[in-house]
């Protein structure tokens, strides 16, 4: 028999296994690979301020071909739930936040016009976009990227990436292009039912099985300290989750706190960057909207707020015309004419302050 130092052989075996394992581990360098998306090329936003939100591209599914029900059938909504309303050529639809929270984009047709209703739960911003880009009809999806916590859609025609609150394409073939803005009104379900009792409401029959009615982000809407990602500018003049109507005229912006409007209908007329505006709103009825006071023929209108029992009419011009919440003349001299909506949308204050630093703040 030949006796062999077992410890020597075991040490050799042990060392071999150990070095092999370590070599395999260390030899596998950190790396990433991706397919299905190409975000190379120029970006109009600082890439170090854009973050992967987690779900990935189309990980949050946009809804296409939504179904609608009548107001009295929408029993899943409470009066305090927020909805986003659109009125195009008399086709009046509302899209509930509690569905939008789970999908962020709804690709629809309103009044025969292709519309993408984009909504970001993290910035509380709902903006309507026309679905025609680059001369063709398309749909938008959720890219999974976030800038200042804000949704970045992508168009399926060219795979270009857009910034919702920046209101432009920031990467891809359509870089620099701006979306066609479709005017929307955001308010509570209770107010919407008073405004448009015969309108149609997006139903929860979306083709997806989501727990609509369960808010997916905890106390995010009311917790002013809670953000998910860094922001480029933290403006502390208002609490972060204060809802404001932000108005953009050229290179100037101004924010109006929803809660600063009177309980009943209230309006303010003022000049912003050379444009005469009328801003109408109500804290109790939870809405705000901004329009240009100047008509295409150069006539400058003067407005007074109406009473809530006049809904959907919210203001009257001194020439006797009554105007509804979408700026459509409903009675009087300018019946069926339409006020030009100011470029504006509602969002949380922190997002407005991040996207539009130095914004003026209304002293309602």
């Amino acid at each position: 028999m030949i006796a062999v130092e077992a410890s020597m052989l075991k040490k050799i075996l042990t060392t071999t296994i150990l070095l092999s394992a370590i070599g395999i581990l260390i030899g596998c360098d950190d790396s990433t690979t991706s397919s299905g998306t190409d975000t190379s090329g120029e970006w109009l936003l600082p890439q170090n301020a854009i973050f992967d939100g987690g779900p990935g591209k189309d990980g949050i599914p946009a809804v296409g071909g939504p179904q609608f029900i009548n107001v009295d059938e929408a029993t899943f909504l409470d009066d305090n739930d927020l909805v986003v309303g659109i009125n195009i050529n008399g086709d009046i639809k509302a899209y509930p936040h509690l569905i939008l929270d789970w999908h962020e984009i709804v690709n629809d047709n309103v009044g025969s016009k292709g519309v993408s209703l984009t909504y970001c739960p993290l910035t509380g911003s709902a903006i309507g976009w026309g679905r025609e880009v680059d001369g063709r009809s398309t749909t938008f999806g959720v890219s999974g990227l976030l800038y200042n916590n804000n949704l970045m859609p992508y168009d399926r025609a060219t795979n270009s990436t857009w910034s919702q609150m920046e209101l432009k394409c920031v990467n891809g073939n359509l870089i620099g292009a701006g979306p066609e803005i479709v005017h929307v009104i955001e308010t509570t379900w209770g107010t919407w039912k008073e405004l448009y009792p015969n309108s149609r409401i997006m139903s929860t029959n979306t083709g997806f099985n989501k727990p609509y009615g369960q808010y997916p982000y905890g106390d995010y809407r009311t917790n002013h300290g809670r953000l998910l990602f860094p922001i480029t500018n933290d403006d502390s003049r208002l609490p972060r989750k204060e809802r404001v109507l932000g108005v953009i005229v050229g290179d100037r912006t101004k924010a109006y706190q929803i809660d600063a409007f009177d309980d009943e209908l209230d309006l303010i007329q003022e000049n912003l960057n050379g444009t005469e505006l009328v801003v109408v709103g109500s804290s109790d009825y939870n809405f705000a909207a901004a329009f240009s006071r100047e008509l295409p023929d150069g006539t400058l209108l003067d407005f007074r707020a109406l009473e809530p029992n006049d809904f959907p009419e919210v203001m009257r011009s001194t020439d006797g015309t009554r105007w509804d919440i979408f700026g459509v003349g409903t009675q009087g001299l300018r019946e069926d004419e339409r006020l030009a909506p100011a470029l504006s949308f509602i969002s949380y204050w922190f997002a407005w302050g991040a996207f539009y630093p130095g914004a003026a703040l209304s002293s309602l």
Partner: protein, 323 residues
């Protein structure tokens, strides 16, 4: 006597909870906490455990309710090397290094979608263990405690196309964390065919600077794992384990505030089978099956895991063999 001790030691290894990883989604790709499997090591001896695990993360839960989620799927392939060395009769040291490959496919319900993969070295652990009660053939009892540090060896700021990826796609956590560990074993028969075991592990986390030094940092939630089960050895070359694993994770924090959709509680069943390939070499096949989960908000969570572990030990009192 040495052979009896050796046999008992092997039985003890077989009774260990399977080396399953903490789910990637709640610990930023550092699946370490479930992998501290080696017990304390006898003086002058070495223990090695090399593990491969596949973690399928396809279930989406809102609280304790599963919700429809065909839009995305995630998976993690992990490799873990754990090495233990006995310093004295009661004191041993254990180290661990990891490697991860994480995959994310999205847009499965429509749209363009994307496939993303990250891989790299994960975090590591170094821990000291102390035997309060030494295992012996007579008492068949062991009680051990330990404490250590989780080392931020893994990268936590990997980017794709220039964008910082989500925390759960990173190999590492980027933070220094503290780890406390406890382990107990009780054999129920003199022949050591049946034994009970329990382990507990607590991790308290530091924060990382994955969003840059100008921000207050991201902190993964503190984590508690408790496992208890039984080992049965009807055959000399094969034995079985079955354990229940409870895991509780606090919500992550960003700039000191809880991050929504993070944290929760999980209860899993972990079956395993161990094969004795030699006196020093053992192979374990095991898995994890979710039994109950209660998550904060909406989260992706593990559907199941499968793992293979190769155990190898070198005892200091074996110096010769005959050929």
């Amino acid at each position: 006597m040495n052979k009896i001790k050796h046999l008992t030691y092997i039985i003890l290894i077989a009774a260990l909870p399977s080396p399953l990883m903490a789910q990637a989604c709640s610990c930023g790709g550092a699946p370490l906490m479930g992998s501290l499997d080696l017990p304390s090591t006898p003086a002058g001896s070495w223990q090695f455990a090399l593990t491969y695990e596949f973690n399928s993360i396809d279930d989406v839960y809102f609280g304790s309710d599963e919700i429809d989620s065909d839009e995305r799927e995630r998976s993690v392939h992990s490799g873990v090397l754990e090495i233990g060395y006995g310093i004295t009769e009661r004191i041993s040291v254990s180290t661990m290094i990891t490697f991860l490959q994480q995959e994310r496919n999205s847009g499965l319900a429509g749209g363009t979608g994307e496939s993303l993969q990250t891989r790299g070295i994960g975090d590591g652990i170094i821990m000291l263990k102390y035997d309060l009660i030494l295992l012996s053939i007579l008492s068949q009892t062991q009680l051990s405690v330990g404490g250590g540090v989780k080392l931020p060896l893994g990268q936590s700021d990997i980017k794709s196309n220039g964008f910082l990826l989500a925390a759960d796609m990173q190999p590492g956590t980027g933070s220094w964390d503290g780890v406390l560990w406890g382990y107990a074993y009780q054999g129920l028969e003199r022949s050591s065919k049946l034994g009970l075991f329990a382990s507990t592990l607590f991790r308290f986390n530091g924060s990382n600077a994955r969003f840059g030094p100008q921000n207050q940092g991201y902190k993964f939630g503190n984590e508690l794992i408790f496992k208890s089960g039984a080992n049965w050895s009807p055959l000399s070359l094969m034995d079985y384990t079955l354990a229940l694993r409870y895991r509780s994770v606090r919500a992550d924090k960003f700039s000191g505030v809880d991050v929504p959709n993070s944290g929760g509680k999980w209860l899993d069943l972990e079956p395993g089978v161990n094969f004795s390939l030699s006196n020093a070499l053992r192979l374990r096949a095991s898995g994890r099956i979710p039994v109950y989960r209660e998550l904060e908000g909406t989260q992706l969570t593990t559907s199941y895991t499968l793992s293979l572990t190769l155990f190898y030990s070198i005892l200091n009192n074996e110096r010769e063999f005959e050929i």
